[in-house]
C-alpha cells in the first residue's frame, strides 16, 4: 500500500505552489522590504540608510494627507458599501419582474476597468465640464468643486469606489443568502418571526462569514485604490487628493525615490494587513461571545 500522507510526499505535492509563492510573493515583498532601508534612485547602487525612509515619511505632510484620504475612503466606503450591497442583495433576490436585469446592471460597473471608471466619472464630477455641476447650474445653484479641490476629493473617490464595487459585493451577499438553508428560514417563519426579526436574528447571524469576506475584500481594495485617483485628479492639487498607493507611485516612479517608495509600500502592506486582521479578530470575538 502507498501512503500519500507520508511527510516527503506531502512536501513534494506542496513544493510547486510553495516555490511559486516564494518566487512571486515572498521574494518581491522581501526585496521591497530590503530596499525600504536604502537610498536608491533607480540607477547606481543603493545605500543602506536604516530607518531614515520611515522617519522621512513621518515628517512628510503629503504622506499624512494620503493616509488621511485613504482612511476617509475606507470609512465612507465600508460604512456605505457593506450595508448598501447587502440591502441590494436582499432587494434583488425578490421574485419581481426584471430582477435579473437589475442584478446585471448593478454588477455592470464591477466589470469596467478602474481606469475607465475614473474616466467616466471625470465627465460627471469635473467642476467645469462635469455633468453634476451642469445640473446644479440648470437648477440655479452654484458649482461645487467635487474633485480637484482640497476637501471633497476623497469623498468623491469614495463615491466612485462604492459605485464600482457595490455590484461585486452585492453578488457575494446574494450568493451567501442563496446558500442559507431553506428549512431554517421556513422554521423561523413558522415560529412567527417578522421580516425584520428574521433578518436580525437569522439571516445576518448566519451570514456573518459572508459579511467578514466582503468587508475584508473592500478593506484590501481601498488600500489598492490607484487608477481612480490617477484619472480623477492625478493626486492633485499639490498631492491633496493622493491615496497611499497613488502617493507611493508618485514617490517611487515619478520622484524616482525607490527606497522611500518601498518604505511606503511596506507601510501600506502592514496597514492593510493590520486593519484586515483586526476586523477578523473582532468578528471572531463577536461570534464566540
Amino acid at each position: 500500500m502507498v501512503w500519500i500522507s507520508s511527510r516527503w510526499k506531502i512536501l513534494a505535492m506542496v513544493a510547486p505552489a510553495l516555490i511559486l509563492f516564494t518566487l512571486f510573493v515572498v521574494y518581491p515583498v522581501a526585496y521591497s522590504l530590503g530596499f525600504s532601508f536604502t537610498k536608491f534612485r533607480g540607477f547606481g547602487n543603493p545605500d543602506f540608510i536604516g530607518f531614515d525612509n520611515y522617519g522621512a515619511l513621518g515628517q512628510d505632510p503629503f504622506f499624512w494627507r494620503a493616509l488621511q484620504n485613504t482612511l476617509i475612503i475606507l470609512v465612507v466606503g465600508v460604512v456605505v458599501l457593506v450595508p448598501g450591497s447587502f440591502a441590494l442583495a436582499l432587494l434583488l433576490r425578490r421574485k419581481v419582474a426584471g430582477a435579473g436585469l437589475l442584478r446585471a446592471l448593478v454588477f455592470g460597473p464591477a466589470i469596467i476597468a478602474p481606469i475607465l471608471v475614473g474616466l467616466i466619472w471625470v465627465f460627471i464630477l469635473d467642476p467645469k465640464i462635469g455633468l453634476l455641476n451642469r445640473f446644479l447650474g440648470f437648477a440655479g445653484l452654484p458649482s461645487v468643486q467635487w474633485i480637484g479641490g482640497d476637501t471633497l476629493t476623497p469623498y468623491a473617490v469614495a463615491l466612485v469606489f462604492i459605485w464600482s464595487s457595490i455590484g461585486f459585493a452585492m453578488t457575494i451577499f446574494y450568493a451567501g443568502r442563496q446558500l442559507l438553508p431553506h428549512d431554517v428560514m421556513e422554521a423561523s417563519e413558522l415560529d412567527g418571526a417578522t421580516g425584520f426579526q428574521q433578518l436580525r436574528y437569522v439571516t445576518i447571524p448566519m451570514m456573518r462569514e459572508t459579511f467578514a469576506i466582503v468587508t475584508i475584500l473592500m478593506i484590501t481594495n481601498v488600500f489598492k485604490i490607484f487608477e481612480l485617483v490617477y484619472m480623477l485628479t492625478g493626486g492633485g492639487p499639490v498631492h491633496r487628493s493622493e491615496t497611499l498607493v497613488s502617493y507611493m507611485y508618485f514617490t517611487t516612479f515619478t520622484n524616482q525615490k525607490y527606497g522611500l517608495g518601498m518604505a511606503l509600500a511596506v507601510i501600506i502592506t502592514v496597514l492593510g494587513a493590520v486593519v484586515s486582521i483586526a476586523y477578523l479578530a473582532l468578528s471572531r470575538e463577536r461570534k464566540a461571545s
Binding site: G42, F43, G44, I147, D150, G236, V238
Partner: protein
C-alpha cells in the same frame, strides 16, 4: 504497470533536461546571425513612437532606408515606465543601445560606467561643432559628453490673435499688460492661459522661463550647493506674480482636473486665448481651426525681474545616450555612429522641422510659411533680434525630486493651494532633503 520511484525521477529529470535543451536551442537559433543586418535598439519615452513622436519615427524610417544593413528596433513606454525599465536594465546590464533619459539620470549612469562618453565619437563624426556650444556643455560632466540632444525645447505661450483682437486687446509684452489682458478676458468668460495639471504637473513651461527672468541661471549653482536659497525675495516676487494672474482669473477653473491634452484642446478649439506649451504643439495647432490666427510669444517681461528679460527658452531637451556596452561591439558601434551621423545630419534635421520640431543643430531649416505657419511663428520668435536663450530649462538642471517640487510649487500657487512663500519653501525643502 508501475515503475520504481527512482526510475520515475530519472525519467522526469531527463524529460526536463530535454525540454530545457530544446528551449536553449530555440533561443540560440533566434540570436542575430553575424552576417545579417546589425540591429540597434532605440528606447524612447513615448508608448507609441510612431504616432506620439512622428519626428523620431520619420528619422528612423529614413535612416533604415539609407542603411538597409542596419535595423533600428524602436520601443517606447510612458516616462515613468520607461525610467523604471531603464533602472532594471541598468542593474542587469541590459540597457538598450540608444535611449532617452533625464539629464540627472544620465549623469548618474555615467558615474556608474553605464553610458558611453560620446565626446570622441562626436569629434570623429564632426558633429561637435554642429551643436550650439551650450548644448554640448549642458551634456558634459567632467571631460565626458554623455548625451546628445533628443529634440529642441522651444517653449512659451501660443496666443490666439483673433480672441485678442475681438476683445480690443494687443499681444502683451510685459507682465502688467498680460495681467490687464487676463482681467479683460475674465470679464468675457474667456480663459487667458490654458494649463492642465492632471497627470501633467510638468506642463508649466512658460513659468519655468519666468524663473530665468528672476535670475535662476545665476542662482541655481549656489542654491544646489547651499550657499543660496530657492526661498529668496526674487523668486517670491515671481510666485506673487503668478498669484496675481490667478486672482485675475487667468486660468481655467478646472486647471487641477484638466490634463495637458485637454488644455491643448481648449486652446485649439478657440476657448482660451493662450496655451502654455512648446513648439511640439505646433502640429496640433496647425491642424486645428485656429491655425490661421496663432502666434508664439516668448512670455512676459517683468519690471521687477532680475537680469535680461528679452529671453526665450530655446534649449536642448533631455538627452539621448548610448549604452557603454555598445563600445565593446564593433559592429554595433559602427551602426550607432552611422545613426548619430544621420540623426544630426541636415536631412534628418529637416525631417524634425517637417514634423513640427525645431532643429537641434545649427542647420537653417526650410519652413513652409503657410502649411507650417504655427511652427514658423515659434522659430521666428526664437530668432528675433536681441533675444537670447538660457543654457538650459530650470528643471533640467536639478534632480527629478526637485524638478517635481518646482512643478508642484507653480501649480500650487495657480490652484490657490500654496502661498508664494509656501511655494518657494516647498522647493527649498526638496533641495535640502536630497
Amino acid at each position: 504497470m508501475s515503475f520504481p520511484f527512482t526510475i520515475r525521477v530519472a525519467a522526469a529529470v531527463i524529460a526536463a533536461s530535454a525540454t530545457m535543451g530544446g528551449l536553449a536551442a530555440c533561443s540560440s537559433s533566434n540570436s542575430s546571425p553575424s552576417d545579417g543586418p546589425t540591429t540597434i535598439s532605440l528606447s524612447m519615452q513615448n508608448p507609441d513612437v510612431k504616432t506620439a513622436d512622428p519626428a523620431t519615427w520619420a528619422i528612423v524610417q529614413a535612416f533604415e532606408k539609407e542603411n538597409p544593413n542596419i535595423k533600428v528596433e524602436v520601443t517606447g513606454e510612458a516616462v515613468a515606465e520607461h525610467l523604471q525599465k531603464l533602472s532594471i536594465a541598468a542593474q542587469s546590464d541590459t540597457l538598450p543601445d540608444v535611449f532617452w533619459v533625464y539629464k540627472s539620470n544620465a549623469e548618474e549612469m555615467l558615474q556608474g560606467g553605464k553610458v558611453m562618453n560620446l565626446g570622441p565619437v562626436l569629434g570623429d563624426l564632426g558633429l561637435t561643432n554642429k551643436f550650439p556650444k551650450s548644448t554640448v556643455s549642458n551634456f558634459t560632466s567632467g571631460d565626458a559628453v554623455y548625451g546628445v540632444p533628443y529634440q529642441g525645447l522651444l517653449t512659451g505661450l501660443w496666443y490666439n490673435k483673433k480672441i485678442l483682437q475681438d476683445n480690443g486687446l494687443q499681444v502683451p509684452t510685459t507682465f502688467d499688460e498680460l495681467l490687464a489682458v487676463a482681467k479683460k478676458l475674465k470679464e468675457k468668460g474667456i480663459t487667458t492661459i490654458s494649463d492642465g495639471a492632471n497627470q501633467s504637473s510638468f506642463s508649466v513651461w512658460s513659468f519655468l522661463t519666468d524663473l530665468d527672468r528672476f535670475g535662476y541661471a545665476d542662482k541655481v549653482q549656489g542654491i544646489l550647493k547651499g550657499t543660496q536659497s530657492y526661498d529668496n525675495p526674487d523668486f517670491v516676487h515671481l510666485y506673487e506674480h503668478i498669484a496675481e494672474l490667478r486672482d485675475a482669473g487667468a486660468f481655467a477653473s478646472n486647471v487641477s482636473t484638466q490634463t495637458y491634452q485637454q488644455a491643448v484642446d481648449q486652446f485649439t478649439s478657440g476657448k482660451a486665448a493662450m496655451l502654455d506649451a512648446g513648439v511640439w504643439a505646433s502640429s496640433a495647432i496647425q491642424k486645428s481651426s485656429v491655425a490661421g490666427s496663432v502666434g508664439f510669444w516668448a512670455g512676459p517681461q517683468f519690471k521687477d525681474g532680475v537680469g535680461s528679460q528679452n529671453i526665450i527658452m530655446n534649449v536642448a531637451s533631455a538627452p539621448l545616450v548610448v549604452s557603454a556596452k555598445v563600445s565593446k561591439d564593433n559592429a554595433k558601434l559602427a551602426a550607432v555612429k552611422k545613426f548619430l551621423a544621420f540623426y544630426y545630419g541636415d536631412a534628418a534635421q529637416q525631417l524634425l522641422v517637417d514634423n513640427g520640431q525645431p532643429p537641434v543643430t545649427t542647420y537653417k531649416p526650410k519652413v513652409d510659411a503657410t502649411a507650417q505657419s504655427a511652427l514658423k511663428s515659434a522659430l521666428d520668435a526664437a530668432t528675433q533680434s536681441g533675444v537670447t536663450s538660457p543654457e538650459s530649462q530650470p528643471d533640467l538642471l536639478v534632480s527629478t525630486t526637485v524638478a517635481n517640487a518646482m512643478y508642484d510649487s507653480i501649480y500650487g500657487v495657480i490652484q490657490n493651494q500654496l502661498s508664494p512663500k509656501q511655494a518657494v519653501a516647498l522647493v527649498q525643502q526638496a533641495i535640502q532633503s536630497k
